[in-house]
Amino acid sequence: MNTRKTEILVGLFIAAGLAALFMLAMKVSNLNIYNNDAGYEITANFENVSGLKVKSPVTMAGVRIGRVSDIAFDGERFEAVVKIQIESKYNTLPKDTSASIYTAGLLGEKYVGLEAGGDDVNLKDKDKLKLTQSSLVLEKLISRFVDSFIDKDKK
């Protein structure tokens, strides 16, 4: 086996391996999200965030405009504090934007949906959303549904 041919084949092998890794990183994983980390951060308090995770999508009108960057617990108000990272190109959201937690599909992932208000002032870094709506807890909903039947029976 002459050296030149061997070296060319090994070079091709390494290139193919790196190309496969590159393809896995770019086409298979969600790498592109890490590119635009330089957004601005807003916080929102929720009564209940069950099912929401760090990196869950944040959408407005169904388009993803950011990610959940942190979820913490406020020990004084007994609420969940959710930090939301919004891409810097979406810097015209009004200050009275409201946030709700929705579920994608019946059993799908939780995400934060933002709805624009009518304020002239825009949201800035470290601002706090005042209007929030908690995540829907299926068990609560079912128990309310069952309770309403029991009440009917009594009457």
């Binding site: 050296t3 092998f13 193919a16 298979v28 994983s29 969600n30």
Partner: protein
């Protein structure tokens, strides 16, 4: 009774002796690795035998494993009306588990056994002793380049396996069974994480690469220098490295995910 206990003690002692020899050999091999940077052609030569010649079997089995995953996953997921998540299932099972593990098993069978047989035969025909006579350290000249080649090749092979497997899943799921192509790829991109999934898969394949080449090289170097001894060492390489891969995979998975 006493004989039985003696037998137990004997096999226990020889087991630990082998383990100790294996670790000392590993230390010598790793000590020889920096010197390989100056003699890169030796490593290139070995990467050809260990890596390039394994590409074909990796490509073919990766594609078929991906196709089977696509087919099986589709049949299961379609019952729940969730065939759009086929891409997630195929890519996660390949990137996290099957890519590193199956590629390493194939690597042990294809390259590990060849390494053991080659080194064992070198020992049996006294080539290694001849090198020592010429004041050439056979560990640095023969074992280190092979070890380094395996260490570099294994993650590349596993990455090729996963990438080709995902394309195989795409071929069956999207091409033959009619899953939406956009859903296949976008759901995959939404669920696969670069660090949690892909990087951990690469770390797994690096660990497997080290273990398989280490076992292969040690078995060859430690073989009884007869034709029977070499054939036994080759068998042991395949058996031990397969067991090591599967056992380590469980431990690594428990730590990582």
């Amino acid at each position: 009774m006493l004989n039985f206990i003696q037998g137990l003690g004997h096999s226990g002692l020889s087991f630990f002796q082998r383990l100790g020899r294996a670790h000392i050999l590993l230390a010598h091999i790793v000590a020889g690795v920096p010197g390989m940077l100056l003699r890169w052609p030796l490593v290139i030569q070995q990467m050809y035998y260990v890596g390039v010649l394994s590409v074909l079997i990796i490509l073919v089995s990766g594609f078929f494993v991906g196709m089977v995953l696509g087919l099986q996953g589709y049949n299961i997921l379609v019952d729940f009306g969730a065939e759009e998540t086929l891409g997630v299932m195929v890519s996660l099972s390949l990137v996290r588990e099957l890519g590193p593990v199956v590629a390493a098993l194939l690597f042990a069978g294809r390259a590990g056994s060849a390494l053991t047989a080659e080194i064992g035969l070198m020992k049996a025909t006294e080539q290694l002793s001849a090198m020592e006579m010429m004041a050439i350290d056979p560990i640095r000249r023969v074992l280190s380049p092979r070890f380094l080649a395996g260490f570099i090749s294994m993650p590349l092979l596993a990455a090729i396996f996963s990438a080709v497997g995902i394309m195989g899943g795409d071929f069956v799921g999207v091409g033959l069974l009619g899953v939406d192509e956009g859903a296949y790829w976008s759901q995959m991109q939404a669920s696969v994480d670069l660090y949690d999934d892909i990087l951990n898969g690469v770390i797994k394949s690096i660990v497997f690469g080290v273990v398989v080449t280490w076992i292969a090289v040690f078995e060859g170097y430690d073989a009884i220098p007869t034709s029977e001894g070499v054939s036994r060492a080759t068998t042991r390489t395949v058996v031990h490295s397969s067991l090591a891969i599967l056992g380590l995979d469980f431990i690594l998975t428990a730590i990582m995910f």
